[in-house]
């Protein structure tokens, strides 16, 4: 990151003047934390006593055998407290908020995982908490909404625009400019104005640091490839960062192919020509936008990937060809999820299932001597309404109908 917050051509901090001062303070505090080894130590202690770090690296023997190529290892971010990698970032920012003395946090959320993590952190750190969530995502991720509220957070459904992640981000910014003095905006992914992309990636880098140590321990050497799904890009940056300078490790980001790259209904920013450079939500990156610069509707079965932009750091790595980007369609994702449940007894989140789907297309062609790591960013429990729906499970439907009738009648 240069002093203006750019990574190559990407990034920056395109923020309203009201926020200027608070960003100054944030950048200074962040810089202090990065220099202070005690801060990272405090972070590690928190993550190993409140969440479950280091998370395991699981050898997926059955999937490996099934595809007959490289050995598949799964980095288990699903085992974090609150069920996803989002906790890494949020707990880190929580420590920062404590240092800055702010009393309230706000956050946007798509899949609800970042909202869950933030509500959790707020409960633990005794902060007020408001979560913005697109109305469509409120419906897709209802259980998460329920838990956030039970943990004392206020969840505000956002009915503007496409009612998904980007709109929640806009709304969170509106809150922030209003309540900037006592409020910190816990940005949920490696996007937004600097220093967020770098800061979020820093907290998430714990994933790759652990994974590198673990793979060498189990597999004896570095992996051939590392796969991660890419929404905003935080879990991808988290697992990639440590491997960036390893020559023989190829990094693969898997974007949301939705109904297909040619369908117009997807969220592919880097692995298709649909996106162009733009500036929105406080930063410059590749956006899915029309010729006038208006953001397009995106689509993914995974709420957490259903987003118009992507981390500026990833746009830079894409431009530098240091990370390869692919996509997986909704259908490929459901199939990958199904296979992973059946063969390994592991339920990846729909977001994470994109990384699995991406890896499954290629792993058979790799040598048996090699290993790959798939970053399982979260667990699929939160997606039960979407997954049960997508699989058209008849007994689930009957159960919901019966419950609905019961509730209607009293």
């Amino acid at each position: 990151m240069d002093t203006n917050g750019f990574f190559g051509n990407w990034g920056g901090a395109y923020i309203p003047e009201v926020l200027h001062q608070t960003f100054q303070e944030l950048k200074e505090e962040y810089a202090r934390c990065r220099k202070d080894p005690e801060f990272w130590q405090e972070y590690l202690t928190l993550m190993s006593t409140y969440s479950c770090r280091p998370t395991p690296l699981t050898h997926a023997e059955n999937l490996s055998r099934h595809f007959g190529g490289a050995d598949i290892y799964i980095k288990r971010e699903d085992l974090n407290h609150t069920g996803a990698h989002k906790a890494n970032n949020v707990m880190g920012q929580g420590l920062l908020v404590k240092r800055m003395g702010k009393k309230r946090v706000i956050a946007e959320t798509g899949a609800g995982q970042h909202g869950m993590a933030t509500a959790t952190m707020a409960a633990k750190f005794g902060l007020d908490c408001t979560i913005y969530m697109g109305e469509e995502d409120v419906l897709r991720q209802r259980p998460n909404v329920f838990w956030m509220e039970k943990m004392g957070a206020t969840v505000v459904p956002v009915t503007d625009g496409s009612q998904t992640l980007k709109d929640a981000i806009n709304e969170a910014f509106r809150d922030w400019v209003t309540n900037v003095d006592d409020t910190h905006y816990v940005f949920g992914t490696a996007c937004g104005p600097a220093p967020f992309p770098e800061m979020v990636s820093w907290f998430q880098s714990i994933i790759g640091i652990e994974a590198a140590e673990q793979i060498v321990k189990y597999h004896g050497k570095m992996p051939r490839r590392v796969y991660a799904c890419v929404g905003g890009g935080s879990n991808a940056m988290g697992v990639f960062k440590r491997f960036l300078d390893e020559d023989d490790v190829e990094l693969v980001g898997v974007e949301a192919g939705g109904h297909g790259a040619d369908s117009g209904a997807h969220a592919i920013r880097l692995s298709s020509p649909d996106a162009t450079p733009g500036v929105a939500q406080g930063y410059k990156t590749m956006f899915l936008q029309d010729n006038d610069g208006q953001m397009k509707q995106t689509h993914s079965v995974a709420a957490g990937l259903d987003y118009v932009g992507v981390s500026p750091i990833l746009s830079d790595l894409w431009e530098q060809k240091k990370v390869r980007f692919e996509s997986a369609t909704d259908d490929e994702v459901m199939a990958a999820l199904d296979l992973t449940m059946k063969l390994e007894g592991i339920i990846p989140a729909l977001e994470s299932s994109h990384a699995f789907a991406g890896a499954f297309k290629e792993v058979g062609k790799l040598s048996k001597e090699d290993a790959i790591i798939i970053n399982q960013s979260g667990r699929g429990d939160k997606d039960i309404f979407t997954i049960a729906h997508a699989f058209e499970d008849p007994s689930w439907k009957k159960f919901i109908i019966d419950r609905g009738k019961e509730y209607s009648s009293n």
Partner: protein, 254 residues
């Protein structure tokens, strides 16, 4: 004539100027045309025309909805330019474009300046473009003689205001309070000392915006600021009572 000069001249005869805000294409260019006619008739001194953007991060519910509805009706950047050119032709007051940076960036910064200059636009207000991010933007503004309107906020430090002032032309847009457009502001003691800080930091005229709704609000600004900005209030008025309500409303402000 440069925007600042133009405003300074007006200030010689008026104790406070009025700037109004419209969202282009909302509810339609037809209505925009009529609203602007009435505003000019009633002596508005300057009009900022917002080119709608899908992600108006700094705007409150009224203007947000106006942006969305305008886009839903199919408004394009090209139409905004044509309409801008038409207004400049028709009326003598200065017209500005307000928009978010992506509209400019995506059009091509230089192309955008060129086109706007051809249309006779006098200034740009871009709430998400701090000067640190606007090196080429500021150069082009200079080259095409379009005033880059910079923004002060209550959270800006004195040093920051000085720095911003150095980049600004035309006037400084002082955001009356924290928050987005549309909500009422308190013009209290804190506000006065904020405005005093603004005044100290710059020689440029001071426009105050965000939440100005009535004659009282404007009277309260007299002697402290040079221009009052009426934004959401008239947009809401048009939406609820139609374009014809604008003339009388503006007339009642002074």
């Amino acid at each position: 004539m440069q925007l600042e000069q133009q405003l300074q001249e007006k200030l010689e005869t008026r104790d406070i100027l009025l700037m109004t805000h419209i969202v282009l294409g909302y509810p339609s260019f037809e209505v925009n045309r009529e609203v602007i006619r009435q505003m000019v008739n009633e002596g508005v001194d300057c009009i900022e025309m917002q080119i709608p953007f899908s992600e108006p991060m700094a705007d409150g519910p009224v203007i947000l909805k106006a942006n969305q509805d305008s886009l839903a009706a199919g408004t394009t950047v090209e139409e905004c330019f044509s309409f801008g050119a038409e207004m400049v032709q028709k009326h003598t007051i200065p017209f500005l474009f307000m928009t978010y940076y992506n509209i400019i960036f995506k059009y091509g910064e230089e192309a955008f300046f060129k086109r706007a200059a051809e249309c006779g636009i006098r200034g740009f207000i871009v709430p998400d473009l701090p000067p640190e991010m606007g090196k080429t933007f500021l150069e082009l503004a200079d080259r095409y003689d379009i005033a880059p309107i910079l923004i002060f906020a209550p959270t800006s430090t004195d040093d920051r205001m000085k720095q911003l002032s150095g980049y600004g032309r035309g006037f400084i847009y002082c955001v009356a309070r924290r928050g987005v457009t549309g909500k009422k502001s308190d013009f209290d003691h804190d506000f006065d000392s904020y405005l005093a800080r603004c005044r100290t930091a710059t020689e440029l005229p001071l426009a105050v915006g965000f939440g100005i709704q009535s004659k009282e609000d404007i009277d309260a600004l007299k002697g402290k600021a040079d221009m009052a900005v009426i934004g959401s209030r008239t947009i809401k008025l048009v939406a609820t009572e139609g374009a014809d309500a604008v003339g009388p409303f503006i007339a009642g402000l002074r």
